[in-house]
């Protein structure tokens, strides 16, 4: 068993950002990666996916975009290459093919078990990403005649049968997938729950430029009114590209909207009657955001039309052939099934305060709204990892001196 100060679990952008900040503090560490660096960007993304954030906003510690298209949006393959190149250039101590099977308290610190050996570490940083796609419990009631795939398994329209598709979920993934399925000739019905509507551009700037410039992305976890809400906010309805992809745009392409999928019963998908209200909530929230931008610069920009909502069906019989497949775009969560440290709440969610868990030396990185709104994006790892590395080095050094005193 090797002993060192820190084990980082996951060699994606977050784990590598942490490695950078640990190295800067001369903290010995290793980064354990179950596959290859940035593997989920190669294997768990659909082909047309591009980052929601413009190139200039894709920043890592010691690295920023220097290419000739700062306002463009990288493809998943380009992101994978970027992160792989970053890992190589930074000389991060990555061990690939090391699937972590257990992290548990042991000695002063933790024992980390992996498919490539055991480590003992004074501290552990969980940076394994949001790798687990979640589908509602009712998914198991889907009739056998209907194929289904989640966002982790979806690649391109041709993998689904011809015919109608029910896309469940209306955040960035659901909208993008619905748009390309509809364009492929498969009539799409989209089940829409709560969502966050934004235009791609407003008053000549990318919406993320405004969120960045107005300091909204820097709002801290310990300052927002409702942290539970902020951490569970669906992703912005965006697609990496010039166009605005909202529910009106989808409907103009022929996509049919229904309410949130409430359940499947006896082969019938039942939808919520609250669709008008979730659209009203999103329109009002959008209005407030654009008002904030206007208040900042003066004047008033061009506003989007309110979301068009038609009274549509509340139920679709999935055995009748109208729907041939279902795409679950119902979110992703981190997977802590290998974590044997009592830091999970009654529903298995990791309890942490800005990435610092209540178990000394255990940290988490790379979750939405971890320490600021920016944490939801690649760009957030720079400052989050810096903050946590500062906390970690303080804790570890304090622990060391306490041990030294014990020894003397």
């Amino acid at each position: 068993m090797s002993t060192l100060t820190t084990v980082v679990v996951g060699a994606g952008h977050a784990g590598l950002a942490m490695s950078h900040h640990l190295a800067a503090r001369s903290i010995d560490h290793v980064v354990l990666e179950r596959d290859e660096v940035a593997s989920s960007w190669r294997s768990r993304r659909w082909e047309s996916l591009r980052l929601l954030t413009p190139n200039w906003m894709t920043r890592l510690p010691g690295w920023s975009y220097q290419g000739d298209d700062p306002d463009g949006y990288q493809s998943a393959a380009e992101v994978a290459d970027l992160i792989t190149g970053y890992a190589a250039a930074s000389g991060a101590p990555v061990v690939t093919g090391a699937t972590v099977t257990s992290v548990r308290p042991g000695g002063p610190g933790f024992e980390v078990e992996s498919s490539r050996g055991r480590w003992h570490a004074r501290s552990v940083v969980l940076a394994a990403g949001t790798t687990r796609t979640v589908v509602p419990a009712t998914a198991r009631r889907l009739p056998d005649v209907v194929e289904s795939v989640d966002t982790g398994g979806y690649r391109h329209p041709a993998q689904l049968p011809e015919g109608g598709v029910l896309v469940v979920g209306a955040s960035a993934s659901g909208l993008q997938i619905a748009a390309e399925l509809q364009a492929s000739g498969r009539p799409v019905t989209m089940a829409v729950g709560e969502h966050v509507r934004v235009p791609r551009r407003y008053r000549g700037r990318d919406i993320l430029w405004w969120l960045d410039a107005l300091g909204i992305l820097d709002e801290r976890w310990d300052e927002v009114d409702d942290l539970v809400r902020a951490r569970n906010l669906p992703s912005l309805q965006l697609v990496g590209g010039a166009r605005t992809l909202d529910l009106n745009a989808l409907q103009a392409c022929g996509v049919r909207l229904v309410g949130r999928l409430a359940r499947i019963r006896d082969g019938v998908a039942q939808f919520s009657g609250a669709l008008p209200n979730v659209c009203e909530l999103a329109d009002l929230k959008l209005g407030r955001l654009l008002d904030t931008i206007d208040a900042h610069v003066g004047g008033r920009g061009e506003r989007s039309e309110p979301t068009r909502v038609r009274r549509d069906t509340l139920a679709i019989d999935l055995r009748r052939g109208e729907i041939r497949s279902v795409v679950w775009a119902t979110g992703v969560r981190p997977d802590f099934s290998w974590l044997d440290v009592p830091v999970l709440d009654h529903r298995g969610r990791l309890v942490h305060d800005g990435g610092v868990t209540r178990w000394p030396g255990l940290y988490v990185l790379g979750l939405p709204m971890l320490r600021r709104r920016r944490s939801s994006y690649i760009d957030g790892a720079r400052t989050d990892a810096d903050d946590l590395a500062t906390h970690l080095s303080g804790t570890v050094l304090a622990g060391r001196s306490a041990l030294d005193e014990e020894a003397s």
């Binding site: 919520s272 609250a274 009203e280 009002l284 209005g287 009274r311």
Partner: protein
């Protein structure tokens, strides 16, 4: 996070938001206290006329009760060849929806420091009797649609008032009950 207390808050809609937020905070430590059960018991009187009693409920990890028993009667109108001693059950659904949404309006407005001056709602529900009479299997028994229209006078912009009403729908139990399917089990003992 901004906090306000009733003594310093100039806005008074008669809702103790602090108590509600306190309950939410308490749920984080002991989620089981959030499990509530609502109850009513009914005695048939005659024809379509029944009387329901409401007294006890369960919550905060123990038996609870209203300060008194409430009696509510249901019947059907003369136009149904009934005795019209009381509102129809479907009208109680509107009563519940309106009461729930408006309690939410008051609470959300209080939380957002919006003083309400008057709140009026009119509710309507469309129903096709082919359903309950079994005359057309394609028509459902229940409402084909429900409309709620609010008239609100408050110290707020029209957008802020719309946002209060939208948030109230988002957090309303009866809105959810009406808008979404619920498992119902009926047994005979």
């Amino acid at each position: 996070m901004t906090t306000t207390s009733p003594t310093t808050s100039p806005v008074q809609n008669g809702v103790n938001v602090e108590a509600l937020l306190g309950a939410r905070a308490a749920f984080a430590d002991s989620p089981e206290i959030a499990r509530f059960q609502w109850r009513s018991s009914l005695t048939w009187l005659n024809g379509t006329h029944s009387r329901s009693e409401i007294h006890s409920f369960y919550g905060f990890d123990e038996e609870q009760a209203h300060h008194t028993s409430f009696g509510l009667e249901t019947d059907h109108p003369l136009q149904f060849a009934a005795t019209d001693n009381a509102p129809t059950p479907v009208e109680y659904v509107l009563v519940g929806l309106g009461g729930c949404l408006t309690a939410g309006v008051a609470a959300v407005a209080q939380q957002r420091q919006i003083q309400l001056h008057s709140v009026k709602a009119t509710l309507s529900a469309d129903m096709d009797l082919h359903g309950i009479l079994g005359a057309d299997p394609d028509v459902r028994n229940g409402f084909s649609g429900v409309s709620v229209s609010y008239e609100i006078d408050a110290d707020a912009t029209p957008e802020e008032i719309r946002a209060v009403v939208a948030q109230s729908q988002k957090r309303s139990a009866v809105f959810d009950i009406v808008a979404n399917p619920t498992d119902v089990t009926v047994t005979v003992v």
